[in-house]
Structures are given as structure tokens and as C-alpha cells.
Symmetry: C2
């Protein structure tokens, strides 16, 4: 069905919630896991898990100890969907012969399309990297699809790959 992980979906929701609501400026945008859980409706442990992956990827910073929490580092205009996907679900590798090792595809020796998925993979990465979270937030879906050639964030592929 080509569905991305539900964790990734929740990650976007949580990030949008983090940026949207800043009622207490005293904390400088620091939000705790239960706070975000209550704001989004996602169960707390799941939110915590998502935040862990995001902090490991460097998208959000974690402040430990009492009065701690999470704080997003970059404005969400500079966070692409590809960043969130790679942070939560790992690198984007549609087939088994891209670079996501551990499964050398048991028929790779007699496969005519061995490295050809790279083209599709790059196209998907570009499509996901061209959409920022800010676009998703204010997306009233104006046309049916934008001209598809406008790189909103235009982040290099090396960043996506790693």
C-alpha cells in the first residue's frame, strides 16, 4: 500500500504542534512529552518514542532534568518531510539494492534491474525534500499540485542520504 510508518506521521503532527502553540514564552518553546501528548491526542509513550528519534537525528534538542523537555532547533520552514522520514524510519531505500544493506536481495546476481531503482529513489527523495513542514501547515492544497519544479528548501542530497 506504500504507506509510510505511522511513527513518521505522528512525528509530523508533533512537530507541527510544537511550533504552533507557544502560550508560555518563559520556557523558550520547551515542551514536555505529556504536554504534547495532550495537545495532539497521541498516547504519551508514542510521543516520547517519536521525540527520541527526532532528538537522535538532531531535529529537536532535549533538555534533561526537571523542567526539561524538547525544543525544536530549526524553524519548520527549514525542515523537509524527507528529514522527518529519515529521522524516524531510517534512510529512504525503496528496494534492497540501494545502500540499505543487511539484505543483499537473494536474487541480485541475476537481476536485470539491479541498480535501476536508484533513479526512482532519487526522485522520491527529491519530491519529499522539496516540501517543508511549513508548506504542509499552510497547505490549503491551493491547486491540485504545484508546478513540481520549485525546490522549497532545496537541501542537498547528501543531507538526505545521511
Amino acid at each position: 500500500m506504500l504507506r509510510l510508518s505511522k511513527l513518521t506521521d505522528y512525528a509530523v503532527v508533533v512537530l507541527l504542534a510544537m511550533a504552533e502553540r507557544v502560550p508560555e514564552p518563559a520556557s523558550a518553546g520547551v515542551r514536555t512529552s505529556p504536554c504534547l501528548a495532550g495537545a495532539t491526542g497521541v498516547p504519551e509513550p508514542t510521543v516520547a518514542k517519536v521525540l527520541k528519534a527526532l532528538s537522535a537525528a538532531g531535529l529537536v534538542a532535549s533538555l534533561r532534568g526537571a523542567r526539561g523537555g524538547y525544543r525544536l532547533m530549526r524553524p519548520l520552514e527549514e525542515i523537509s518531510v524527507a528529514d522527518v522520514v529519515t529521522a524516524v524510519d531510517g534512510p529512504i531505500a525503496l528496494a534492497a539494492c540501494i545502500e540499505g544493506a543487511a539484505s543483499p536481495c537473494e536474487v541480485h546476481h541475476s537481476c536485470a534491474a539491479k541498480g535501476q531503482w536508484q533513479l526512482v529513489n532519487d526522485a522520491v527523495c527529491a519530491a519529499l525534500g522539496a516540501i517543508s513542514l511549513a508548506d504542509m501547515r499552510e497547505a490549503a492544497v491551493p491547486p491540485l499540485l504545484r508546478p513540481s519544479g520549485r525546490p522549497v528548501t532545496s537541501l542537498p542530497f547528501s543531507q538526505i542520504a545521511e
Copy 2:
């Protein structure tokens, strides 16, 4: 990991194998399941399963009876990756709030990004629909990515949706 179904991968491999090798022109390009299994290295039952899905979607035609087999209907210049994905894995629906029902997303009532995935979904559909199997075959991956604005097949979205 954002991996597409392995069946989809095999479907592309099988389609390429069907088009590539035509040693006996007497059959007009008709290939049997065990023949394709031997040519690709994929186990026969899996090949049969893939072919069934492809014939159900109308990408290949099936000739029953002895001396039967499968024959691809369109030249693979006119078959996009999105067609194969939708034929094998069903419609492309990244999140649970696109149109792939059966799972209304238990937090949809308090989700700020309810319909925003549609933008990303359309972008992915466009990216997958702009690449044909012929592009994959002769893809020596010339640059790193093509200008991303050239619709190779330019099939309408309605075809992707259904």
C-alpha cells in the same frame, strides 16, 4: 524504512524480463510463469502471484490453456512505476487520511495536519508517474537526477488514483 513491497520490486523485474528477451518470435512475446521464474531467479509461485496482480490491473494479458502464458499489453515506455505500484500494492496512500479508508486514524479529530498529507502524496505520485520502465532499463543514471520537471509519460492523476 519507507520500503515498497518486495512484490512490487519483483513485478518490475518480471516486466523488464518479459520485454527484454524475445528469442522465439513465434509466440508473439508470450511467456509462461516458470520461464520467467527461471530467467529472473525469483521463485515460481511468487512470479505467479505477481503476474496475477498485474493481469488483474490490465498491465499484462493472460492466455489460458496449454501454450498459454502472459503477454504485456503496452510497450514499457508507457508503463510508469506508479502503475506497477498501484497494481501490486494498491493505491498510494502514505497516511491514513488520504482515501485509503478502513483506518480513520484514531486521532483524526484533534489532528492539526489532517488533510495536509495530500500534498506530499500527490508529489510522490507525480514523481513515480514521471518515470517509465523504459527509463529504468536504460538508466545508466546519467546525471544524478533529471531536471525533475520533465513528465516522461505524463499520465493523468485519475489513472493513478484508480
